[in-house]
Amino acid sequence: MDDVKSGEVIEEPATARPRLTVREEIVGYMQRNPTLPWGLWILVGLLLFSLFARLYVEDVEHYRPLSAGAFLSPSGEYPLGTDSHGRDLLAVNGLGVLNTLMLGLLAGLIGVGVATVLAFMAAYYGGWLDAVVRLVVDVGLTIPSLLIMVLIAIAVQGIDLWMMALVISSTSWLWPTRTIRSQVLTLKERAYVEVARLSGMRGIEIILKELVPNLLPFIIASLVTTTASAILASIGLEALGLGPPDDPTLGMTIHRVITYGGVIMGSWWWWLAPTILITLVFIALYLINLGTDELANPTLRRTA
């Protein structure tokens, strides 16, 4: 166990560190990893935009077609203009950014939840269960997830936001299962797990009391990456036309721009706002991901 590979969780030496309050701990972490607060601020900005949109439009229902004239360029009444079917695009984008984030987070939570259970069972108990999980993950990761989701989405009738999150979860558990499993494998050989086993703890107790708490930072970090790829997947599916037709999301807006030739007709406001919002979502999640690297791998901790 002497050489520590990158990506492996190691224990902090118990002696060297002074005890810090939770608040000091968090502030210190943010200072060491400035990309984390940056990413969080962008997310807050996106939520504020959504709140602003909600307060500005007189009726939230204006995300529906025929709420206004078609192809209106931005004005005081419609700051982001309207689309080919007379949707107020401020209402669409305001709700859309919220829906897209929620969709991603939900699919991320389901994915990481399933992954955690499977990874712990597979890695701790090993045997045929581990072999099956490994094979399914290996096969699943060879196939582009967008294509699997296309197959599932066309089999589902009347897709809405919840169904969409389930469709994306069907593949979002694969990658975290692989990474969490390998983490559990390295952890379960540690001395303290051995001690727990010798002192008569049962398997499930060791998993819940010894392994899960130690891997919690890693699991949180993989939630960020899983959410980011879930959002990417949702926008891809929606652009293809497999999204929820009645719910405003950023991807559905892109889909309508493509279907009704919004770019080539010169309605720049139609595609520019969702494109910027999607890009901001990815930048925020990317920064948060960079910022949580230390959580997943404390060896990265700088001694400055």
């Binding site: 096969v139 196939i143 582009p144 296309v150 891809g236 036309g241 892109i254 770019v263 080539i264 595609w271």
Partner: protein, 335 residues
Amino acid sequence: MTTAKYLVRRFTFLVLVVWSAATINFFLPRMSGRDPVRARLAAQAMKGVSIGKGIDKIVETYDKKFGLDVPLTQQYINYLGDLTRFDLGPSFSRYPMTVSQLIGATLPWTLGLLLTSTVFSFVFGSIFGALVAWPSTPDWVRSISPMFFAFSAIPYYLLGLFLLYFFAYTLKWFPGAGGYQLGTIPEPSLEFAIDVLKHSLLPAFSIILSSLGFWAIGMRGTMIMVEGLDYMTLAEAKGLKGRTILWKYGLRNALLPQITSFALSLGFVVSGAVLVEIVFAYPGIGLLLFNSIKQTDFPVIQGIVLTLIGAIATATLIIDVGLPFLDPRISRGDN
């Protein structure tokens, strides 16, 4: 493990991947209780299309093919048998064209676009990444690097929207849609080739712009690692020219991990290209998928998904098997 054993194992894995995809393909629609033939008929009826002889024939064909008189296991075996002959059945929306014909007509477009733009961005991205990591590179090269790294954070198709607006709508330098001028008949002439090239440039450019950074980041990382190795110091001590060291000692060795990451990102590259085609209405397999989804043409959708999965799995296999020949350091676990 011997090479033969390795090949057998890898090939078994390939078959397993394609078989799993085919099985999902077969059972999912049956589990959901959504009858594709009926869904298609309903969609047609809603559009006010009279359901004519063609549709009746499709229903008949499908009843015979997946017939309820045959038990499910038999249907499944027949389906797998058809797949091995690339028989994916007829299309719903473009009957009597078969799915294989439709895919065959669009695949060359996708392959042409994807191959050229991927090779281009791989080569130039890798060289760019190596230059960024090389100490004696002029500063201006390094100063444009953040731009490409930023582009790589934006999905291909969103960048495509920008390019479409500026170069096709505002500046009118390039056509905004299609693979060739409407009204022309595809023929092997120079004029037609130039027309196709003009139509492919914007979609290719959006793939290149956003994937250049991806290859550059990977290459930069390996280059920095390679620069620290002993043989680089030795090459310098021997008094070799900087350019020789960069190209023959550094770049060649750092390129190999790039090929591995290429194999790993193949699926990502393909799904990105599918979406780019939609933005530019480029007549490849992605646009066919988009239109088939719009027309609820289930056999075509499933055929495309299976074809792409098969192609990606095969390409990954070829890279995996070929890599040890390129790089003797990679062993297949022979002991």
